[in-house]
């Protein structure tokens, strides 16, 4: 009796398996794109790219549908989702990916290069010849390409010209040292007591935004990077780190030129965008993302109709002229994001076809009209946005990048923690740097750190 029902069970399962695979051949191929917050790009893929690409595929006799899925949450939360999805062999076919995540995902065996997933077709793509190598490298590691970069960015001090004028400061403003930056903040604090003069990102709640828009912008201004590229070692303690932490202490603790609340609460970054947008924060050190994303008059989360009149930017000065990283007067740092193929995709060829179509000149020019920014392709320039063009011309030549190393993410998190300890008043700059030194040494090993003595 038992044996017989077992046979029936096997039979039923076989019918399902065979039937399922027969049915699957008739089903259209669905390619999904995941990892983006709602916004211009998701709409672009769903409303512009999808119909054009589906038509292209239909001409080749394939039924393909494309869907961009909104992924809510911060960069950290999306990264967390990717690790968990990829760890169990799941996830969208194409993933919007931040370049600095790449090394640890590769080391963890979670993703695979284009050469393995697609083969020559991907390596012979027409777009590579018009993409500078530095921008190809955003999504490459160990000599292998993993995806196509959207483009790059740069970080500056965004400020409200209306508040500057009310406080008696020039609307056309460019500080040349940290003192001049702090003086402007002091003037605003005095003239406009209800306005928070200056936010320089700090704290663990903002994650990588703290490292890129806050810590590294100050550290580079003080003359050093987080990593010594020549020696190949992490800098665990240095006068520049101390200068940076002292700057944080001045801004948030001793003079209260910024409000630590933004830095220590969970939704602090969005709150700072919102308050900049409605005119209660005067200066915000941020990437060009702030301009083209949250503040965008159309499609922004905190849209400013009069953005072009009321918002301007200044370059981040070194602590003193000529004392910045590489002897520069002004500093900035670039990141880069893009799209990679999920190694678990069932249709790598079609996924690659979609990805390379998204980054064809024709498609990208369409996106450039909706959201002008610095694209990876040199044949797609920034058009129609004077501010973005100025960033590309004036600021981008000064830039540097983060070390593309698997340990970076954890060292960066320790740097965030170090700034949090200072701005919350838990530790003095010296104590915080000592704790950072200890933690980084434990992470990467004594042989991989250097310490620059403090005179």
């Amino acid at each position: 009796m038992l044996k017989r029902s077992f046979h029936i069970l096997v039979l039923v399962m076989l019918v399902f398996v065979v039937g399922g695979s027969v049915l699957a051949q008739d089903e259209p191929i669905e390619i999904t794109v995941g990892g983006m917050n709602a916004g211009v790009e998701v709409d672009w893929i769903n409303n512009v790219v999808a119909p054009a690409f589906e038509e292209m595929m239909a001409a080749e006799g394939k039924t393909v549908t494309v869907q961009a899925l909104e992924t809510p949450g911060t960069g950290e939360q999306i990264r967390q989702q990717f690790v968990l999805d990829l760890g169990v062999g799941e996830g969208a076919d194409i993933l919007a990916f931040d370049g600095f995540w790449l090394p640890e995902f590769v080391e963890g065996g979670l993703i695979q290069p284009l050469s393995a997933l697609v083969g020559d077709a991907a390596l012979e793509w027409e777009g590579w010849s018009v993409t500078p190598e530095g921008l190809q490298n955003i999504l490459s590691f160990g000599g292998e390409l993993y995806g196509i970069a959207r483009g790059t960015d740069a970080r500056v001090i965004w400020y409200r010209t209306d508040l500057f004028e009310q406080a008696g400061l020039p609307a056309d403003w460019q500080p040349t040292s940290w003192d001049e930056l702090l003086d402007a903040a002091r003037t605003i604090k005095e003239a406009l007591p209800d306005v928070t003069p200056l936010q320089l990102n700090a704290g663990t709640a903002m994650g990588e935004a703290t490292t890129m828009q806050g810590y590294l912008m100050a550290l580079l201004g003080a003359g050093q990077h987080i990593y010594d590229f020549e020696a190949g070692k992490w800098i665990a303690s240095s006068p520049a780190i101390l200068d940076t932490l002292n700057l944080y202490q001045t801004i948030y603790v001793t003079e209260e030129l910024g409000d630590a609340r933004y830095q220590l609460t969970q939704d602090g970054r969005d709150r700072s965008f919102e308050d900049f947008s409605n005119g209660t924060v005067a200066m915000l050190v941020e990437g060009d993302y702030l301009w083209r994303g949250p503040l965008a008059p159309v499609g922004g989360n905190f849209p400013m109709e009069d953005r072009d009149e009321l918002v301007s930017f200044a370059m981040m000065p070194a602590i003193e002229p000529g004392a910045g990283y590489n002897g520069q007067d002004f500093v900035t740092i670039s990141g880069g994001t893009g799209f990679i193929l999920n190694p678990n995709t069932e249709h790598p060829e079609e996924a690659w076809a979609l990805l390379s179509y998204m980054f064809s000149r024709e498609a990208l020019e369409g996106l450039q009209e909706l959201q002008p920014r610095i694209r990876a392709r040199t044949d797609v320039p920034v058009t129609g946005d004077e501010t973005m063009s100025r960033i590309a011309e004036q600021v981008l030549p000064l830039t540097t990048i983060r070390p593309q190393l698997p340990e970076y993410n954890q060292v960066s998190a320790e740097a965030q923690l170090m700034t949090e300890r200072v701005v919350s008043g838990e530790m003095s700059p010296e104590e915080a740097m000592a704790a950072f030194d200890e933690a980084v040494t434990a992470l990467v090993g004594e042989e991989n750190v250097i310490r620059i003595p403090i005179e």
Binding site: E76, Q80, V83, G87, E104, F105, E107, G108, G109, L110, G203, T204, A205, R261, L264, T265, Q266, P406, E407, N409, Q410, A413, L417, E420, R421, S424, E426, A435, E438, A442
Partner: protein, 286 residues
């Protein structure tokens, strides 16, 4: 033979995970980075790192997290839930009416609503421009950014509100089993309310109190819901042990170290249960 399925079930879902966590706690396993592809046995290193007494009272470390958890358990479970539950149960003992029904219904509702809904509600309630501040302002009291300036008090109040119903119901039904004649006799000889509580109700409740404390201590010790309110912050001031474990395990996917924390938490849970069980045993013998 008949218990075999149950044994397999227990083995697959309890014993195997427990031992795999225990084993993992001696490795440097991670989900990303080099530790993922090349997991190594590292002995007691994870534990040494957790119990590094030079820095374990720093914010965001194990010792600090345990201290916060102790404050949270004492404040919200022992004083908050058990204390308030006892008060409500005693006040409304042998009474009926609209007030009792209203209070009991509110307490039970607070206990039954799903976590995420409750957390959103409290988030809105405690926000700088939230309901609580609006109410205080009408009384002429200056509002506060509660979750930022008083994070621990906020989550203690939250968890007390959330869980009082259990203790209240347990004590209330226990009180129902005490013969009314005892209290009536006490009334005849002129005992006051406190004397009645101390000499009649409390001794007969003691067994239930221990059971209640055991359960709510363990629940509160392991609860994760405050994360939805504060995310463990600001600056780790509500970094309860459950949140600490989550951060280590899922932010950097350090499964080895995360497992070591889980083992420590399991041992603490066993110790707590042991203390309560020993107490109740000795009471029963006495």
């Amino acid at each position: 033979m008949f218990i075999l399925p149950a044994l397999i079930f227990v083995a697959v879902f309890l014993i195997y995970p427990f031992f795999s966590i225990f084993a993992m706690s001696f490795t440097n396993q991670t989900l990303v980075g080099a530790g993922a592809a090349n997991t190594q046995f590292i002995g007691l290193d994870n534990y040494a790192e957790l119990f590094n007494f030079d820095r374990w009272m720093r914010r965001g470390e194990l010792g600090y997290s345990l201290l916060l958890t102790a404050q949270f358990v004492i404040g919200s479970a022992l004083i908050g839930q058990a204390g308030l539950g006892m008060l409500l149960a005693t006040l409304f003992h042998n009474r009926k009416g609209l007030l009792r029904e209203t209070i009991f219904t509110i307490a039970i509702a607070a206990w039954l609503i799903p976590d995420v809904v409750v957390a959103f509600g409290w988030f809105a309630y405690l926000a700088p421009d939230g309901t609580l501040n609006a109410f205080l302002n009408t009384l002429g009291i200056q509002g506060q950014d509660w979750l930022f300036d008083y994070p621990m008090i906020s989550i203690i109040a939250f968890n007390t509100w959330r869980g009082t119903a259990f203790s209240m119901l347990l004590f209330s039904s226990a009180l129902g089993s005490i013969p009314p004649s005892q209290l009536e006799t006490a009334d005849v000889i002129g005992a006051n309310a406190w004397q009645k509580f101390r000499d009649i109700l409390l001794p007969q409740l003691s067994r239930y109190i221990l059971t209640d404390l055991l359960l709510i201590t363990l629940w509160t010790f392991n609860t994760f819901t405050p994360f939805l309110l504060t995310g463990g912050g600001p600056t780790f001031q509500t970094d309860l042990i459950s949140i600490y474990t989550y951060r280590t395990g899922l932010q950097f996917f350090q499964f080895g170290k995360g497992s070591a924390i889980a083992v420590v938490v399991m041992i603490i849970n066993l110790l707590l249960a042991g203390v309560y069980l020993t107490l109740s045993q000795s009471r029963r013998r006495a």
